[in-house]
Amino acid sequence: MLDMKVDLEHLSRLANLELTEQEKELLPGQMEKIIDWVGQLSSLQTPGEEKYSPVDFSLRLEDDLVQVSLPQSEVLSLAPEKAGDFIKVPRVLPEK
């Protein structure tokens, strides 16, 4: 029904993942089985269109107040690479 090999390539692109050689071997079969298995759901007759909400109490909205956040230096110290007060990343646009 689904060509999982093609699909997996597309999905891994969407998910920003590359598959190792071993995963390329194993994953298509596994994913097909899992998707088949969760597909059982299609036999369940669910009344109406009602969708689940994890809480049934009304959510509280926060006032839009300026609050103290984490110190910049501490947060920056977590960055894998930085330049001055900035987080540094590799070039965004490909070289021409």
């Binding site: 998910a15 993942l17 598959l19 998707i35 597909g39 059982q40 969708k51 984490l70 977590l78 070289e95």
Partner: protein
């Protein structure tokens, strides 16, 4: 009696009366952990020096908190300020959080002492702790077996007397299943009862932090401390938190309970089924009314969960891109860096679930998978809540089988089936507790799950306490001690 064998409630009592020093308690745990954790592998990180200085501080206080001297382990997907928090993943291997989870803040404010961070399946995805990127944890009752998962490190630490109690997190059964495998008590509170601020997100509509300890009492005390509204988690409920511990002793009316009907037990491990029937005998004398119920929608609970949870995970885990924190793979261009970082940083099970979630949410499949699962979730919830209007508690086995051997389950779906009895409560957001209820002939612990109405933890603890007293599962058979005795018998 050795300090490490003291229950948390007893130990706290002694420390608060200044009869025992917190420092002595911590020191005895440290020397025990140093010996046994080489075998068990419950801890990813230990913070002995911090724990000792925290203990000295507690000893010096005139007014000691409700958890003074409690030696507690924290699952490593709960962030601890200044203490490495890996989530069992290479992608966060060297992550030192700049902030503290609300639950940890609350434990410390009551003078609990954090001794270390426990192992887990990477991003809490798994049922055996074998998916940890670092090493597997072993079951203290039998080192060839898994402790369950994903809170396997927390369960093993408590069972092996490496901590008085621990925090775990439960998304589809990750507190209740390892508690059952390791012969301890574990609670998944009602969704919204405990703040998730600082819990590294896996599936946000399901995740809930819960206590794991050697008795119902100890779990009740910890829950009183960690529960309650938190402005930093808008899904936490603004409801008062009872003193669960003191309510345990107050008299209650006999409960109406439901067991699963025989048709729900088809295909169950025979020893689990036999134990479940024995429990029915014991429990029937303690209740005012007993019924047998089947939950037709439960057949759909696992497939539903394995669409919803991976979908939320695929979205939650999009944040790990190597830019702001965590692991970054070297690359010449940004897009390539994202790809290489995530590829090298995530293990196979995490990738499988991200891809599964990406699939369920992608255009063309969303209606057939995610939307259908969301409606199924509504149906499962309605069925459970309707049953809980007629009875106070539903009792089920906690797991379909006792702890299995390391490496025994290779097929992903076979591993997913471990959650058979636990996921329905996760999907419905209701509380569930797992308490030890017997041993197999081989001497492996079995767990009983009790489900209750939302925000009825007080009644749930009280009933679990009654069961605990009647099931008479002996604390002194736990972990290392039981193993030692079995070795001597041989």
């Amino acid at each position: 009696m050795k300090y490490i064998e003291l229950g948390l409630t007893e130990a706290v009592d002694l420390v608060r009366k200044s009869q025992v020093k917190a420092e002595e308690l911590v020191a005895s745990f440290i020397s025990h952990v140093e010996v046994v954790d080489r075998e068990i592998g419950a801890y990813l990180t230990t913070v002995f020096d911090r724990a000792l200085s925290q203990a000295r501080e507690v000893d010096g206080k005139k007014h000691k908190g409700r958890l003074a001297g409690a030696v507690v382990a924290i699952k490593d997907n709960i962030v601890t300020r200044g203490i490495r928090t890996t989530c069992g993943s290479r992608i966060l291997e060297n992550f030192i959080p700049p902030y503290e989870a609300t639950v940890v803040e609350r434990l410390k404010a009551e003078d609990a002492i954090i001794i270390g961070k426990t192992n887990l399946d990477e991003f809490a995805m798994g049922s055996s702790t074998e998916n940890s990127a670092f090493f597997p944890t072993r079951n203290p009752w039998d080192l060839d077996r898994v402790p369950g998962g994903s809170s396997g490190g927390s369960a093993a630490a408590v069972a092996a007397l490496e901590a008085m109690a621990a925090l775990g997190s439960d998304t589809g059964g990750s507190v209740r299943q390892p508690a059952a495998f390791c012969g301890i008590v574990g609670l998944k509170p009602t969704y919204g009862r405990v703040s998730r601020y600082g819990l590294i997100a896996f599936a946000s509509s399901l995740d809930q932090i819960g206590p794991m300890a050697r008795s119902v009492k100890d779990c009740a005390l910890i829950t009183s401390v960690i529960a309650g509204f938190d402005p930093r988690d808008s899904t936490s409920a603004e409801l008062p938190v009872p003193d669960y511990l003191s309510e345990l002793e107050s008299p209650g009316r006999p409960a109406k309970i439901a067991f699963l009907g025989e048709s729900s037990l088809q295909g169950l491990n025979p020893e689990v089924a036999e134990n479940y029937r024995q429990v029915q005998q014991i429990v029937s004398g303690l209740c005012s009314e007993i019924t047998f119920l089947d939950f037709p929608s439960w057949e759909m609970a696992l497939p539903c969960y394995y669409i919803i949870a991976p979908s939320e995970a695929s979205s939650n885990l999009a944040r790990y891109d190597g830019v702001r924190y965590g692991f970054r793979a070297p690359a010449a261009e940004l897009a390539e860096m994202y790809l290489k970082t995530r590829t090298a940083g995530f293990g196979s099970e995490v990738k499988r679930r991200i891809l599964l979630g990406t699939f369920a949410l992608s255009s063309g499949y969303y209606e057939a998978y995610y939307a259908r699962a969301a409606r199924a979730r509504q149906a499962i919830t309605a069925e459970l809540k309707a049953a809980l209007e007629k009875v106070d508690f539903i009792l089920t086995p906690a797991t379909p089988e006792p702890a299995f051997k390391l490496g025994e389950i290779q097929d992903p779906i076979a591993m997913y089936l471990q959650d058979y009895f636990t996921v329905a409560a996760s999907l419905a957001g209701i509380p569930g507790i797992s308490i030890p209820c017997g041993l197999t002939r081989e001497g492996l612990p079995l767990g009983l799950q009790v489900l209750a109405r939302p925000f009825s933890e007080s009644e749930l603890f009280k009933f679990a306490f009654l069961l605990e007293n009647n099931l008479k599962f002996k604390n002194n058979m736990y972990g290392i001690k039981a193993r030692g005795r079995r070795k001597n018998e041989n």
